[in-house]
């Protein structure tokens, strides 16, 4: 399993990996917002956590369709499926998700404080948003893996994966943004939505790989 994680991280950071593109896309989304809503610093600070979350969500969805497709195209997927006795397929998917998140999700979390400054957010809001992104983006990867596995046989499944996965990430978005606001707006709670979001991440960490494994197993037919 470690070998698989290391291999996928290596591929992710090398040329052709999705890491840089994801960060650039995130940056682009955040940059266009002030042009759309106007440079009103107060407004930007208010919508900042939400925009950061939406940007991170879209950027996470961006490279998801390649998660299994690349393995299918070069034939590795067959061997990963065949190794099902030694490494259960759900576990293999889990390892691939971990590697994918480390190369595409974590960089987004790391750059989000800098983008928060661009949005004129106060330190507490930046810290809270970064924390919620750190705990919430894995959920997007895990549930997205299911979409990626379902669409693995489709040559241009990218948009389809996003369309299928978006309804499922709505709860993550809701709790993530709520928690981020809860940290700065007084009556709103932080801990409660944050914990709910963590629970969602754990739940998807179990459901996503299981469903994705089941879908992949049928894909080799």
């Amino acid at each position: 399993m470690m070998a698989l994680i290391l291999r996928d991280i290596r591929i992710g950071v090398r040329a052709g990996g999705g890491m840089l593109i994801g960060i650039l896309f995130f940056l682009a989304v955040i940059t266009v917002v002030p042009f759309g809503v106007g440079p009103d610093l107060k407004l930007l600070a208010r919508i900042g956590p939400a925009i950061l979350w939406i940007g991170a969500l879209l950027a996470s969805l961006l490279g998801l369709d390649r998660l299994f497709q690349a393995d299918r195209e070069d034939g590795s997927l067959d061997l990963l499926i065949m190794a099902g006795h030694e490494h259960p397929l759900a576990l293999t998917v889990f390892a691939k998700c971990v590697a994918h998140w480390l190369t595409t999700g974590l960089p987004l979390v790391i750059v989000s404080p800098a983008l928060g400054l661009l949005m004129n957010m106060e330190p507490a809001a930046i810290a809270a948003t970064t924390a919620t992104l750190l705990a919430g983006t894995p959920a997007i990867t895990f549930i997205g893996a299911t979409g990626a596995a379902i669409a693995v046989a489709l040559p241009r499944g990218g948009l389809l994966v996003s369309v299928m996965v978006l309804p499922f990430v709505i709860p993550v978005l809701i709790f993530g943004v709520m928690a981020a606001y809860g940290a700065v707006e007084d009556p709103a709670p932080f801990l409660q939505p944050f914990l709910l979001m963590c629970a969602l991440t754990l739940f998807f960490a179990a459901l996503g790989p299981l469903a994705a494994g089941a879908a992949l197993k049928g894909s080799s037919d």
Binding site: F168, P171, A214
Partner: protein, 261 residues
């Protein structure tokens, strides 16, 4: 291993699994189902228009008689797909996948109706076409899920290969519906605008309940009627496809393996 079970033991479970048998049974039921749903819908329509107007909502309450059944059916359509998805994944029931394929557009149509009539009800009652009310939002997300499933079905050209992925998507959706509903409710209570008239008032008058129930039964029968028609068409579609492929293979010559030392 289902392969090793003797045909006699499988009879009861697979009696309907055989598409040919399904075609013949459903062909007999279909006219009755269609006729019954038509009669009940006509009765329901008559009752809806003769029921007294609500003291609070006035005549707009009549929208409820199509809105509420449509909303019920949007959920029931998804339930039908979820049960069929289990049939595909666990029993590899050949008709289960046909059932999902047939139910998706019909369920989506009822979901669309629930949204549209809800919006038409909201305009005079709330003064706006759309409110991000917890219920409306949940139904809207359900509509998105229907569209996602239909998009996936359309994207995969081979129905046999599409069966499993579609079933998994439906089931993942089933698991997620309560979570989405919970989160949307939660989100809504935090953002609740001061005075929103709730759609599900506890004050449902019996004079309203009866037309509502009759319409709901009529719509449900209509759903199953349409579902059955769509399933039959889908079976024929698949039969045509397999006949075409079989004839293409016959022209190439039959493959017969020969083992030699």
């Amino acid at each position: 291993m289902s392969d090793t079970i003797a045909p006699a033991r499988r009879f009861s479970l697979t009696a309907l699994a055989n598409p040919t048998r399904f075609l013949s049974y459903s062909g007999k039921i279909l006219p009755w189902l269609g006729g019954l749903s038509a009669i009940i819908l006509i009765v329901g329509l008559y009752m809806s228009f003769t029921a007294p107007a609500d003291y609070q909502q006035g005549i707009t309450v009549r929208i409820m008689y199509v809105h509420v059944p449509a909303a019920w059916l949007s959920m029931m359509g998804y339930m039908v797909m979820a049960v069929s998805a289990l049939g595909t994944l666990i029993w590899r029931h050949p008709l289960a996948d046909v059932s999902i394929k047939a139910a998706a557009p019909i369920g989506a149509a009822f979901t669309f109706l629930a949204l549209a009539t809800g919006s038409l009800w909201g305009k005079p009652m709330w003064g706006t076409w759309w409110v991000w009310d917890a219920r409306l939002t949940s139904v809207f997300v359900l509509f998105l899920m229907y569209l996602g499933i239909i998009a996936l079905q359309r994207a995969m050209d081979d129905p046999v290969k599409a069966a499993r992925p579609v079933a998994i998507l439906v089931l993942v959706g089933t698991v997620n519906i309560p979570i989405i509903k919970f989160s949307v409710n939660w989100w809504n209570t935090l953002h609740q605008p001061a005075a929103v008239i709730r759609m599900d008032g506890p004050t449902i008058d019996p004079s309203m309940l009866w037309p509502l129930l009759v319409m709901a039964v009529g719509f449900t029968l209509l759903f199953f009627f349409m579902h059955m028609v769509a399933m039959r068409t889908e079976i024929w579609r698949r039969r045509i496809a397999s006949m075409r492929r079989a004839s293409a293979r016959e022209q190439r010559g039959a493959a017969k393996p020969v083992l030699a030392e």
